[in-house]
C-alpha cells in the first residue's frame, strides 16, 4: 500500500520533515517546488509508516484504502507526479 496526498494540501512541509524515507516531493528548494500546487508521495518508496499523516495540519494525507470519494483521483495523481523517473532519480537526495 501507500499513503497519498489529496488536493487540500497547503504545502506546509511538516510531512517532508518527518518522512523517514524522503519520499515526499517536491521539497523546498527543488526547482519545481514553488510552482507545485501540492506535495506528492512516491508510492514506490512509501513504507506506510503513518508519520506524515500525524504531521499534516490539515489531514490531507490518506492511506490508499481510506481515500474519501471526493479525493479518489489522488492515488493516480501522486503516482503520476513521479512517473517517468528512474529509481536512481527517485532515491537521490
Amino acid at each position: 500500500m501507500t499513503y497519498v496526498i489529496a488536493g487540500s494540501c497547503i504545502k506546509d512541509d511538516s510531512c517532508i520533515e518527518v518522512c523517514p524515507v524522503d519520499c515526499i516531493h517536491p521539497k523546498p528548494g527543488d526547482p519545481d517546488f514553488e510552482a507545485a500546487e501540492q506535495l506528492y508521495i512516491d508510492p514506490v518508496l512509501c513504507i506506510d509508516c503513518d508519520a506524515c499523516v500525524e504531521a499534516c495540519p490539515v489531514d490531507a494525507i490518506f492511506a490508499d484504502f481510506e481515500i474519501p470519494s471526493k479525493f479518489e483521483y489522488a492515488l493516480e495523481l501522486n503516482a503520476e507526479f513521479f512517473a517517468g523517473q528512474t529509481t536512481a532519480e527517485r532515491t537521490a537526495a
Binding site: G7, S8, I10, K11, D32, Q38, P57, V58, A60, K70
Partner: protein
C-alpha cells in the same frame, strides 16, 4: 550582562503572522510575542478567505493555536495598528515589529462600468460569505439568471463554486448565516468564468478546477475550440509546462468532451481568451461586453493575451465578480514600494527609501512578497524573515526600546482599547461558535458582527 527581555510585536494574525510567531518561538523560545489583530478574531484569510466548503483546510487553526497562543504568544485583537496605536508607539515598546498585514484590497480591471452596482471585487463577496464583520451589511443581488466571474485563479473558482453549490451543501458548511439565506434564494442558474489567456495559462490549481467539474447538479461547459491550444502554448506546455498546467489542460479537455446535461440545475461555463471591455447597464449591471484574445509571445518570452480585431460580444448578466488579484495598501509611517505594492525589504528586513535596513522593522507574507503562493508558502516566508530577525537579535543589533516592559504597553492599551480581545476572549468566541454549530449540525456558526463578537469574547 543580564540579557534583557526581547519583546516582539507581530502586526496581523493571519497565516503569515501565525507562522512567523510559531517560527520565532521555535528559534528563540524566551522571546515574548504580542500578536496584534485588527479584527476581533485571529487567523485572517484562514477564517475569512478559505471557502466554507473547504473545512479540512480550516483545521490549520488548531495548529496555529497550539504553536502560538498555546505557547505563550499573546493575542491583542480588536486593535488596529495605525489607528489605535501608531508605528512609532510600537517601536517605543518593542524590540522589533513584524508586519504581516497582507494585501487588503483588490486590483481593478480598468474597464468602463467597473463600479456599476452589481459589479463587485470577488474578494468582497468572499468576505461577505465568510462572515467578515465589515461586509455583513453588504447586499448582493442574486436575482438575475446569469453571473460573470472575471479571472482564472482560485478565488474565481471559490466564488463560482459558492454561486453554484446547492443549499443542502451550503448548510453543511460554516458559511455566514446572512449569506446562506441569500444564496438559498439565489436565482442564478449560470456562471460564466472568463480567462484572459488560454487553458494552459489558467492559474487554477488542478484540484480547484477538478472540483468545478464534480459539483452535484451542476453542468460544466467548455467550448472544444477553446481547448485547442495555439502553437506557442503547445510548445510551452510540452517543454516547460508545470505538472499543474498539464493536469489543467487535461481536465479542460475532459470537460469539453462531456455531453451537455440540460437537466442540470445550474451551469458553469469556462471561457478562455476573453477579456472584458465594458460593463454596462442603466443604474446597475445588465451586461458585459467582452472581446477575444490570442496568445502572443512577449519580448521577455512570456505568453501574453493580445486582442484580436473583431466585434465585441455581449453577455447579459446581473452580477459581475472581478477576481484579478489582491493588492496591498500602504501602512502609516512605514516605507512602501508603490510599484510592487509591498514593504521594500531584503529577506524580510524592511528598507528605507535609501535602501538601508530600518532597524527593528520586518515584513512577512503578502505585504513582503506580494499576493502569491498558498497557505504553506507563508511558512518558508516566515522562516526567512524570522531568520533575519533572530540573527539581528543574536548580534545585539537591536537596541532596547525606551518602554520595554509588558506592563507599559498593557497600560496604554487598557486606556485606549478597553474592549481588546485576548486569547481567552478568542477561545470564548470560538467555543460559542462551535457550540452553535453543533446545535445545527454544522462545523461552526459564525458570529458576524463586531458587537456580537465582543460580547462573546467578554464572556471568557
Amino acid at each position: 550582562m543580564a540579557r534583557t527581555q526581547e519583546r516582539v510585536a507581530i502586526v496581523g494574525a493571519g497565516p503569515a503572522g501565525a507562522f512567523a510567531a510559531a517560527c520565532l518561538l521555535r528559534a528563540r523560545g524566551h522571546t515574548e510575542i504580542d500578536l496584534f489583530e485588527r479584527l476581533a478574531t485571529p487567523w485572517g484569510l484562514l477564517r475569512g478567505g478559505v471557502a466554507p466548503d473547504h473545512q479540512e483546510i480550516k483545521r490549520l487553526q488548531d495548529t496555529f493555536d497550539r504553536q502560538t497562543l498555546g505557547r505563550g504568544c499573546r493575542l491583542l485583537a480588536n486593535v488596529e495598528v495605525g489607528t489605535d496605536i501608531s508605528h512609532a508607539e510600537l517601536m517605543r515598546h518593542y524590540t522589533a515589529v513584524v508586519y504581516a498585514t497582507g494585501a487588503q484590497t483588490d486590483k481593478s480591471l480598468g474597464v468602463r462600468g467597473e463600479d456599476l452596482p452589481g459589479s463587485w471585487p470577488a474578494t468582497e463577496f468572499v468576505a461577505w460569505y465568510n462572515g467578515h464583520p465589515d461586509y455583513r451589511e453588504v447586499e448582493f443581488d442574486l436575482s438575475a439568471k446569469r453571473a460573470v466571474v472575471i479571472g482564472n485563479g482560485n478565488v474565481a473558482a471559490d466564488v463560482t463554486r459558492m454561486l453554484t453549490l446547492s443549499a443542502r451543501e451550503l448548510e453543511r458548511t460554516d458559511v455566514a448565516d446572512h449569506a446562506l439565506e441569500a444564496l438559498r434564494d439565489s436565482r442564478i442558474e449560470e456562471v460564466i468564468v472568463l480567462g484572459r489567456r488560454g487553458p494552459a495559462q489558467a492559474a487554477f490549481t488542478s484540484a480547484e478546477l477538478r472540483e468545478l467539474g464534480r459539483l452535484d447538479g451542476v453542468d460544466i461547459r467548455v467550448d472544444p475550440d477553446d481547448v485547442e491550444l495555439d502553437p506557442a502554448s503547445r510548445e510551452w506546455l510540452a517543454e516547460r509546462g508545470t505538472f499543474t498546467a498539464r493536469k489543467n489542460v487535461e481536465l479542460l479537455r475532459e470537460f469539453a468532451a462531456r455531453p451537455a446535461r440540460p437537466d442540470a440545475q445550474r451551469r458553469i461555463e469556462l471561457r478562455f481568451l476573453r477579456s472584458p471591455v465594458e460593463i454596462r447597464g442603466n443604474g446597475r449591471v445588465e451586461a458585459i461586453d467582452i472581446r477575444a484574445n490570442e496568445i502572443a509571445r512577449g519580448s521577455d518570452g512570456s505568453l501574453r493575451a493580445q486582442p484580436v480585431d473583431c466585434d465585441p460580444e455581449t453577455i447579459e448578466c446581473g452580477l459581475v465578480l472581478r477576481s484579478v488579484g489582491y493588492r496591498a495598501v500602504p501602512l502609516p509611517d512605514v516605507p512602501f514600494d508603490e510599484r510592487h505594492f509591498v514593504l521594500p525589504n531584503e529577506r524580510g528586513r524592511v528598507l528605507t527609501s535609501a535602501g538601508d535596513p530600518l532597524p527593528g522593522v520586518y515584513a512577512v507574507g503578502w505585504i513582503k512578497r506580494g499576493p502569491t503562493g498558498i497557505l504553506g508558502t507563508n511558512k518558508r516566508d516566515a522562516e526567512e524573515t524570522i531568520g533575519s530577525l533572530a540573527e539581528d537579535l543574536g548580534n545585539g543589533a537591536l537596541p532596547q526600546p525606551p518602554n520595554p516592559g509588558r506592563e507599559q504597553i498593557d497600560a496604554l492599551l487598557a486606556k485606549r482599547k478597553p474592549d481588546l480581545v485576548t486569547a481567552e476572549g478568542w477561545r470564548a468566541i470560538d467555543g460559542h461558535e462551535l457550540e452553535r454549530g453543533r446545535n445545527e449540525q454544522r462545523p461552526r456558526v459564525k458570529l458576524t458582527s463586531r458587537q456580537e463578537l465582543l460580547a462573546a469574547a467578554s464572556r471568557s
